[in-house]
């Protein structure tokens, strides 16, 4: 049994993450207590360990991609190109989030071992569902990915809002899982198969049971994502959780769910995409306008960013509606760009968090440009990225995705997305307005200076946001998609 086939038999990144999680937990148990100076160094060591193991997964996926992926599916799991790219995306975002969280958590005096272990378990689940070839593997992966986040939402247990976030997150997660499993049960009942191969061959869309199954599965996903009209839990959870979890939810959580759904659509339910297009388009329009309008009225920056993340989901649904290789590859590029943007934006919020008081209202950022220019400029870059202004990667991501949608013929919905983008522009511009054009209202303590690590992560995110905006290599956005197009076509096996 050589290494190449190992990747197809075992979910290697998932296992690496699980082992790392246990290791981090053990390290926390046997390590020094938090308050001692050795303890602080130990915490840093745990963060490094978590980051390194995630980077190992990323490296594994890159190696698998470049060495020619083994297409032998075991029936349950296959590590093909889509899985590799997904692992790369989520892994890199997670590393950035680890680095940002470590300073944040230590300023709150919260134990980091359990935190990092739970995130690693969540990543283990994410990497598992990226390569799923079987519905149960997908579901197990999703559950493993989302349950630790419920616990982590309540991590800051002394704050009432954090407890509330955990409760709401738990209910939402439970209900969505039930709906999802209900749908899986219907699919099993109608086709007799749970693996994607069997599903593809035996699914008869005209039967009511099958249609109900697909609908319920999709609704389960929509509830986990927070698509309108299943969005009610999202803003409170995002606001109440510690900010390091908010960013994980907005970036890795959303990316995991979108990529898992993409995997299901491409491999398990390929004929359903034409039938589901109108559904996706409806969700897209509803989400775009509702989420942008809600973001307009927010006074809390974390809530506003959460709503903006939901609004971006509306744009993602256009890619699913177009269901072409170009739209899927544009979506993956968009996910990567979004990850950088949100990691950076939440990172700025995390940097200004101070001690036990969360500074996440817009007023806390008023006039910050006077003394913390780097934070204000960074936030402006990320907001411009989100709004899709030329010069940022967000512009090209939107361009690619909308081109694919126009090619698929959804012109009216593309126009709707453009109108909603103007709303997004307005919402995004409120943040630089507050930062640059208002007087400093609250005193910014000297400690609110980004540490070296935080600064490094912010600069890396800025580099991604602007670098992919002006990259001189003419083929990069397309070749990233182009090679992915071939890979996707190959992995679909048509």
């Amino acid at each position: 049994m050589n290494l190449a086939s190992l990747g197809s038999l075992l979910p290697v990144p998932s296992l690496i993450m699980a082992v790392a999680a246990v290791g981090v937990l053990a390290g926390g148990v046997w390590g020094r207590p938090l308050a001692s100076p050795r303890g602080a160094r130990g915490e840093l060591l745990l963060t490094v360990l978590a980051s390194l193991s995630t980077l190992a997964c990323v490296l594994w996926s890159v190696l698998e991609m470049t060495s020619g992926v083994g297409q032998e599916a075991s029936g349950f799991f296959v590590f093909d190109s889509l899985a590799a790219v997904s692992t790369l995306l989520v892994g890199l975002s997670a590393v950035a989030i680890f680095l940002l969280s470590s300073t944040y958590l230590s300023s709150y005096r919260l134990p980091q071992a359990e935190y990092h272990a739970l995130i690693l378990f969540s990543l283990s689940g994410s990497f598992l569902c990226f390569g799923a070839q079987h519905l149960l593997v997908l579901v197990v992966g999703l559950e493993l990915a989302t349950l630790p986040l419920v616990i982590l939402a309540g991590y800051d247990f002394e704050r009432r809002t954090s407890n509330e976030a955990a409760q709401k997150s738990f209910f939402a997660s439970a209900v969505s899982s039930v709906v999802l499993l209900f749908g899986v049960a219907f699919l099993y009942g109608s086709t007799g198969h749970l693996d994607f191969e069997g599903l593809k061959e035996n699914l008869d869309p005209t039967r009511l049971v099958s249609a109900a199954g697909v609908a319920l599965v999709f609704v389960g996903f929509a509830m986990k994502l927070g698509l309108v009209p299943f969005h009610q839990w999202l803003p409170d959870v995002q606001q109440g959780s510690p900010t390091s979890l908010s960013v994980y939810l907005a970036v890795c959580g959303v990316t995991t769910l979108v990529l898992a759904w993409m995997r299901l659509m491409l491999h398990g339910l390929p004929e359903m995409d034409v039938l589901l297009s109108p559904v996706f388009l409806t969700f897209s329009v509803a989400t775009l306008f509702f989420a942008n309008l809600m973001a307009l009225f927010q006074r809390n920056l974390k809530r506003m960013l959460a709503w903006l993340a939901v609004a971006q989901l509306g744009t993602f649904m256009l890619a699913f509606a177009a269901h072409s290789p170009e739209s899927y590859s544009a979506l993956i590029f968009y996910l990567g760009v979004q990850a950088a943007g949100f990691v950076g934006a939440f990172g700025v919020v995390m940097t200004t968090a101070e001690g036990a008081r969360e500074r996440d209202r817009l007023e806390h950022f008023a006039g910050i440009a006077r003394h913390r220019k780097i934070l204000a400029v960074a936030m402006t870059v990320f907001m411009l990225n989100l709004a899709g202004i030329p010069g940022t990667a967000g512009f090209w991501a939107r361009w690619q995705l909308l081109s694919a949608s126009v090619a698929a013929g959804d012109l009216g919905f593309v126009i709707a997305q453009t109108l909603a983008s103007v709303l997004t522009l307005y919402v995004c511009m409120r943040v630089p307005v507050v930062m640059f054009m208002r007087e400093e209202e609250l005193e910014m303590a000297e400690s609110v200076m980004p540490s070296t690590v935080e600064l490094g992560v912010l600069l890396a995110c800025i580099a991604v946001a602007i670098g992919f905006g002006i990259w001189p290599d003419p083929e990069l956005p397309l070749s990233f998609g182009g090679s992915l197009v071939d890979l996707l076509r190959g992995s679909v096996g048509s």
Partner: protein, 540 residues
């Protein structure tokens, strides 16, 4: 010209201000990092910016007038580099007779505005310098781009920079004005972006690769957008899904920036709230981009749609002239009054463009330049008055000719050019536009004439209230006349006005061939279809 500039003249022009500001930021950062100081003070930034923009102006005047061939039909001084051919974007810049006067206007005005702002006390002078230089780069990029996606990119950068320029100084009202500006122009700009995206997609469908260059070049021999047939709705497509929809997308962007009534309401607030000499940047760096867009892109790319929509837009513009004149008369705030005057003058330019005659187009180009120069001059003069009296209210002035004769004289000259007195630049533009309009609908012609006369009366009365008459307000008695710096700024602006007015031939000689070339594209691409019918949409 040294060899290192040869062949890259336009890129130097576009990017010299941008590179200056980047190096200022870099040096500032180094100072802060290594010397722990606050970095270079704003005055140093401004001085360095002034020298850099003056250098750009010198380079532009010398290089462009030296290398520009007046007899050559079409684009010249071309530069082309592949950037992202996969999406159709190339760095393709060129100059022709339509962009030449506007580019010269921009590079001349920016150092003058910096010089005029010498005495200003601004909270963060470095930010001001940053926005001015970056805006100059973005505006020159728009004027010189011959790839429509590049045009769009520079266009949106302009909007974002002007947003920050308007809103950063001045408190809550300036933020409101800036937001209103960005929302309205942003909406237009996003519509234009969508139109460009659809064009790229059509191009892919018909030719395989997107190519958003306007014309073919030796570096990119694929036919450009002006050389392929116009996209029209085929089969049962709805009327807005073809070139009319695309034309309206472009028009949305240009109409908000001109500004064409009823989308003009952002301008008075924006101009009023921008601090200091930044006010003067809008008429020369931002507003001319609207008419230029019509001449360069909207008409040649979609001639049928433009001709079909022409009468409607012309009527709206003509009504806009009258409306703006009336509103201007109702303003007691001098800056707001000047903003409405700008709206009126540029609406006249739009009427000239949509007359679709050669003299209308030449008049539109000259008129845009003339408006830019005179509006900058007038706004700066009002700014000088504000420096002394800290008010823009017209009631606070009167009888200023006595204590400030030089200012009153230069004010009179600039005003005369603005209202179109012969021997000054405004007249050349106006008479050409009117002769173009006269070949069309007489009602529009009458409306324009009434508007021009109304504008002249308005400007006369404004001047009288400010400079002549008894000195109603005692504080005006002790006002000191404008100094050497301010005189220099105004004189450098007035010289082109006199030159164009007395001897317009050098300018007209260079504008005309390019106008003829653009009109040739319009004629060639017109398919002389019957009026586009609105067909009921057939669902698949």
């Amino acid at each position: 010209m040294g060899p290192y500039i040869d062949g890259h003249l336009l890129s130097w022009l576009i990017f010299m201000p941008g590179l200056t500001v980047l190096s200022l930021l870099l040096v500032n950062g180094l100072f802060r990092a290594f010397f722990g100081s606050q970095g270079m003070p704003g005055e140093v930034w401004r001085a360095l910016a002034l020298s850099s923009t003056s250098l750009t102006a010198a380079l532009g005047w010398g290089g462009l007038l030296g290398e520009f061939d007046p007899e050559y039909l079409g684009m010249q001084i071309i530069e082309h580099a592949d950037w992202m051919p996969g999406v159709g974007l190339n760095y393709f810049v060129a100059l022709d007779g339509i962009s030449l006067p506007l580019v010269l206007g921009v590079i001349t005005a920016v150092p003058l505005i910096l010089l005029a702002s010498w005495n200003q006390v601004l909270d963060s002078l470095r930010s001001f310098v940053f926005y001015v230089l970056a805006l100059e780069t973005a505006a020159l990029g728009v004027l010189l781009s011959w790839n429509i996606l590049l045009f769009h990119i520079f266009w949106q950068l302009c909007l974002v920079l002007v947003f920050f320029l308007i809103g950063t100084w001045g408190g809550r009202r300036s933020v409101r004005a800036a937001t209103r500006f960005l929302l309205l122009t942003g909406l237009g700009s996003f519509c234009m972006g969508l139109a460009i995206l659809i064009m790229a997609q059509f191009h892919v469908d018909s030719l395989g690769l997107p190519n958003l260059d306007l014309l073919a070049t030796p570096w990119n021999p694929a036919p450009g957008l002006l050389e392929v047939p116009v996209m029209v709705p085929h089969g049962d497509a709805v009327w807005w899904q073809g070139d009319m929809g695309l034309f309206l997308g472009f028009t949305a962007a240009f109409a908000t920036l001109i500004p064409l009534a009823p989308l003009h309401f952002w301008l008075p607030a924006a101009q009023r709230q921008t601090a200091g000499a930044g006010r003067a940047l809008l008429p020369i760096l931002l507003l001319p981009l609207g008419p230029y867009g019509f001449l360069r892109l909207a008409f040649p790319l979609f001639p049928d749609a433009a001709v079909a929509a022409g009468p409607v837009i012309q009527a709206i513009a003509a009504a806009g002239i009258l409306y703006a004149v009336v509103l201007a008369a109702l303003q007691s705030d001098l800056v707001r009054r000047l903003a409405y005057v700008s709206v009126a003058q540029l609406s006249l330019v739009v009427v000239g463009i949509f007359s679709l005659t050669e003299s209308g187009w030449v008049g539109a180009t000259v008129g845009t330049l003339s408006h830019g120069l005179t509006a900058v001059g007038l706004v700066l003069i009002v700014g000088f008055l504000f420096d002394r009296r800290t008010t823009f209210d017209i009631q606070a002035y009167g009888g200023l000719a006595r204590p400030m004769p030089v200012l009153a004289t230069l004010f009179a000259l600039t005003l005369a050019s603005s209202m179109g007195l012969p021997m000054l630049s405004g007249f050349v533009g106006e008479i050409l536009i009117l002769s173009g309009v006269a070949q069309g609908n007489p009602v529009i012609l009458v409306a324009c004439l009434v508007g021009i006369v109304g504008l002249a009366i308005l400007l006369f009365v404004s001047y009288q209230r400010v400079a002549f008459g008894p000195m109603r307000v005692p504080e005006n008695r002790g006002l000191i006349d404008i100094g050497l710096r301010e005189r220099a700024v105004l004189l450098v602006l007035i010289v082109p006005m006199l030159w164009i007015g007395l001897y317009p031939n050098p300018l007209l000689r260079r504008v005309e061939p390019s106008v003829l070339e653009m009109m040739r594209y319009v004629d060639e691409r017109k398919m002389e279809l019957p009026a586009l019918e609105i067909r009921p949409e057939v669902t698949p």
